[in-house]
């Protein structure tokens, strides 16, 4: 029934539990690898769910992120289409995505991120201290998962500790297409932009060891630098791309491990599994949010189906990550799975720039909690966990724990 589901499925698909995959995934992969879906805006798109197809489209240069093209499907009712085509994305792409990325990658190399690790451990310990002090039950998503990635990004940008909370609020508002209205989102974006502009002026006068200070004077191979608008957009992009994603993943990872407590116990017994366990949590995440939309610029063929120019495709990395053809026992969470070429960070030249940092944050949270709170457990039955409302990034509203 390739592409022949006559009535388009409503997308995003819904699932029973907060940690369960939508029932349709398996059937779509099997029988309808290119499925018609209707997005919240009412526009139609094609949904891909097989590993090979998703991987191919994510890295194919004919499938772009030009979702502002006239005939591209809009994602949601909100005018701007949210973070997928916010003004800041436009500002960045005007700088040339590859050029911009080249100037930033050196801040995200494995070596750099390893150097950040002791700082990340200290921040995590401090957050866990504060959580322990206020007693249980505690919402570990709010206490640890949500603040840690903001703290890390603030550090990277040279933002003082005292402004971390404002950063967290801006980030929360810019990503919440459903919880806040467009006027509030625009206001947060403007306030955040003004803060970053002032912050840049300060760094210009008194440069530090941070990413923005270095980008102020950095040039690409042709000797060109980034404009102020592009630098502000870079700060915004890093917060938007690196906060809510990582915060939610921390929550979901812990929920997956604690909801079947023998998984947690296995890690307590053998903490050397942390690295593979983090990868498996990324793969197993059944609630990652929207997936990655792409705009087809030239006809392509996927799963023996022609996708004509002008099609909007939605790549479900999470559905691909459960593809039995790539992952044996795909519906089992296997803490020592290796190799684990999951697509949680995308694939190809656009794949997540911050993935080493994200991995390090996830590993650190796990290491610190295993060391400090080996008796950690859920404070509510897993069935009572609820998904966040937002459209873009999936997560749990809260994660009550005790120890």
């Amino acid at each position: 029934m390739n592409q022949e589901n006559l009535v388009p499925l409503r997308y995003p698909l819904s699932a029973k539990g907060a940690l369960e995959p939508p029932a349709e995934w398996a059937e779509l992969r099997e029988r309808c690898p290119v499925a018609r879906v209707r997005l919240p805006s009412g526009d139609e798109a094609s949904l891909l769910t097989r590993y090979d197809d998703v991987k191919m489209v994510l890295s194919d240069p004919r499938c772009t992120r030009r979702l502002d093209a006239e005939d591209a499907a809009r994602i949601s009712e909100s005018e701007s289409g949210g973070v997928f085509n916010a003004p800041m994305a436009t500002a960045l792409y005007s700088a040339g995505q590859q050029r911009w990325r080249m100037m930033l990658t050196k801040w995200f190399t494995a070596k750099r991120v390893n150097a950040l690790k002791p700082g990340i451990v200290a921040m995590t310990d401090r957050l866990v201290d504060e959580m322990i002090e206020s007693g249980h039950p505690a919402d570990i998503k709010a206490r640890v998962g949500f603040p840690l990635p903001v703290w890390v990004i603030c550090d990277l940008l040279g933002v003082p500790d005292t402004d971390r909370d404002r950063f967290a609020r801006w980030s929360d508002m810019m990503l919440n297409l459903t919880r806040y209205g467009q006027t509030e989102i625009d206001a947060a974006e403007a306030e955040f932009g003004a803060y970053l502009t002032a912050h840049l002026d300060m760094k210009r006068a008194d440069p530090g060891e941070d990413l923005l200070s270095s980008l102020l004077t950095a040039t690409d191979a042709d000797g060109a630098g980034l404009t102020d608008i592009q630098l502000v957009a870079t700060g915004q992009a890093l917060l938007v791309a690196g906060h809510e994603t990582t915060a939610n993943m921390i929550g979901k990872m812990l929920a997956m491990l604690l909801s079947e407590r023998r998984r947690w116990e296995r890690l307590v017994a053998d903490p050397s599994l942390v690295r593979t366990a983090v990868e498996e949590a990324l793969r197993f995440d059944a609630n990652p949010g929207f997936g990655m939309p792409r705009y087809v610029e030239q006809n392509i063929e996927v799963a023996e189906t022609l996708l004509p120019r002008g099609t909007t495709v939605v790549c479900s990395m999470a559905a691909a990550n459960r593809d039995e053809n790539t992952f044996a026992g795909a519906d089992e969470m296997t803490l020592d799975r290796s190799p684990n070429p999951h697509l949680a960070f995308g694939s190809g030249p656009h794949s997540c720039l911050g993935q080493s940092l994200a991995r390090t944050e996830l590993q650190t949270v796990l290491e610190v909690l295993l060391r400090r709170l080996p008796t950690l457990e859920l404070a509510v039955p897993a069935e009572e966990l609820r998904r966040v409302e937002g459209l873009v990034v999936g997560g749990l509203r809260e994660l009550p724990v005790r120890w």
């Binding site: 890295s59 990325r101 080249m102 990658t105 050196k106 995200f108 190399t109 494995a110 070596k111 991120v113 290796s338 190799p339 684990n340 070429p341 960070f345 995308g346 694939s347 190809g348 030249p349 794949s351 997540c352 993935q355 080493s356 991995r359």
Partner: protein, 64 residues
Amino acid sequence: MKVILDQDKCVASGQCVMAAPEVFDQRDEDGVAILLNDSPSEAGTEDVQHAASVCPALAIRLSA
């Protein structure tokens, strides 16, 4: 085992360095991967296979 790295494909994700730090590093200027050792020992085989499988750019090939 021989390791072949295609630097033109590399997207500087650093995953190979995380997986097999004895075999891969990244250039400071642009994060593009470099090979420290193109014929790693038996003991390093598993790490290198892991690196090749997690490379998002499929830039690492292994041959016997």
